[in-house]
């Protein structure tokens, strides 16, 4: 590769790949040691050959896949038509009797948190599982952190404390209550308007990340430390699980649920949906912030 002139296109492709820009010697990824076997078959050539070959195979594979899927798409029911097989008695019942059976004006929320609540509990567990895995991988221990990392982090903290921008701080102080308000609103009104636990939690978590970015993680730790994180996460998920157990036990036996459905359209309505939305929302808030803290600092 040395001394070889690249064509304009190659350079452009390399630039798109970010290879020149990020300084990662990706165009010559071979270790800078001596070549294992001189002559042909040096490690560099072999890499390039391998990459070309695999990309060729991949291109053939994906073109085949594309052809097959396009053929499928042309034979699927037409988009937007009311006579499609998807518009059957299931969606009809969800819409026509959803309010009566779940109490939720937002039919999508009613569907995922009552008819298909078991799926949705699985979904919250996936999020819990991902947070646990990220903790395993990134929480600081002697295996994944060196002392130089720690020093660098401490230096960043110190420099962060000194020059905090006044405009940024003021703006965040204005934005923060707003984001908290919107987050809680989206959670609380998930059953009567668009929204729900996950979106509300994501907004609230975003607000927390904003606060941590501006004022440092140490300030967040004053009201949200690792104990709080575990407590909120476990209480929320267990609460959700208990609601689920109660709902399924009574529902499968044909009994009426313990939580009254209320008047559709009011905040306190829709049975288990509103409390579950709140629980999921707080769990998501914790998890989103935990992702941020673990990725950036390796601790909560």
């Amino acid at each position: 590769m040395s001394g070889e002139k690249f064509s304009r296109f190659h350079r452009f492709a390399a630039w798109v790949d970010g290879e020149e820009w990020c300084g990662q010697p990706a165009a010559s990824p071979a270790p800078r040691e001596k070549k294992p076997r001189p002559g042909k078959g040096s490690s560099l050539d072999r890499y390039q050959l391998y990459r070309r070959y695999s990309q060729l195979v991949g291109a053939v594979f994906c073109l085949t896949l594309f052809g097959v899927l396009m053929a499928t798409v042309l034979h699927l029911p037409l988009f937007g038509s009311p006579d499609n097989p998807t518009n059957n008695e299931v969606s009809q019942r969800y819409i026509e009797r959803g309010i009566e059976e779940t109490g939720a004006a937002n039919i999508v929320a009613g569907m995922i948190l009552s008819y298909r609540v078991f799926d949705t509990f699985g979904e919250s567990s996936v999020l819990f599982l991902a947070a646990t895995c990220v903790t395993i991988l990134l929480r600081r221990d002697h295996n994944n952190t060196t002392t130089s990392d720690l020093e660098e982090m401490a230096r960043e903290d110190r420099s962060g404390k000194k020059d905090r921008d006044m405009i940024l701080r003021t703006a965040v102080l204005i934005l923060l209550p707003l984001s908290a308000l919107v987050g809680v609103y989206v959670m609380l009104f998930g059953h009567i308007s668009p929204g729900g636990g996950f979106s509300g939690g994501a907004i609230l978590g975003g607000g927390m990340i904003l606060y941590a970015q501006t004022f440092g993680n140490a300030n967040v730790r004053r009201f949200f430390n690792e104990h709080m994180y575990h407590l909120i996460k476990v209480v929320c998920l267990m609460g959700y699980g208990l609601f689920l157990v109660d709902y399924v036990m009574t529902g499968s036996s044909g009994l009426p649920g313990h939580v009254p459905l209320g008047i559709p359209g009011h905040i306190i309505s829709a049975g288990i949906i509103m409390p579950i939305d709140l629980l999921v929302g707080f769990e998501v808030t914790c998890t989103i912030y935990a992702f941020y803290a673990l990725f950036s600092k390796g601790e909560l």
């Binding site: 270790p31 009311p82 947070a131 992702f291």
Partner: protein, 128 residues
């Protein structure tokens, strides 16, 4: 002509199939781990696009009831099921992405590269 008309009507599905294939290609055949993950997200989002377009019906509105005086009629609203499935699916792919990115961070700390083939070669050297 008929083919073109069908393609136009099915445009969302055509685009999502295209995205799915690009994503799958990147997920499997790109040696860069970050690009693999971008491919994964592209692939999943293509499926969500396809799923969402399954629920759309021309001229109907989002399934949120605002008028409680009469029982809602199925003629007014689009199909709510795909929207619910997509909500669930999005959370799943967010979780998987977070996990995979954490894994990439650790791999980068260990091997100082995100190119999988380079990593494999250096591992082989370790064993030899």
């Amino acid at each position: 002509m008929e083919l073109l008309t069908t393609l136009w009507i099915q445009r969302y599905m055509v685009v999502s199939v295209l995205l799915f294939c690009i994503g799958a290609f990147s997920l499997v055949f790109n040696p860069n781990l970050i690009k693999k993950l971008i491919g994964f997200d592209l692939m999943d989002n293509a499926i969500y696009l396809m799923l969402t377009s399954a629920g759309y019906i021309d001229g109907r509105i989002a399934p949120i009831v605002t008028d409680f005086s009469a029982a809602p009629s199925a003629e007014h609203f689009v199909n709510p099921i795909p929207a619910g499935l997509v909500l669930t699916g999005i959370v799943v792919s967010v979780s998987v992405t977070a996990f995979a990115l954490a894994l990439v961070v650790r791999i980068y700390q260990k091997y100082h590269t995100v190119y999988l083939d380079v990593i494999m070669a250096s591992m082989k050297k370790e064993v030899d």
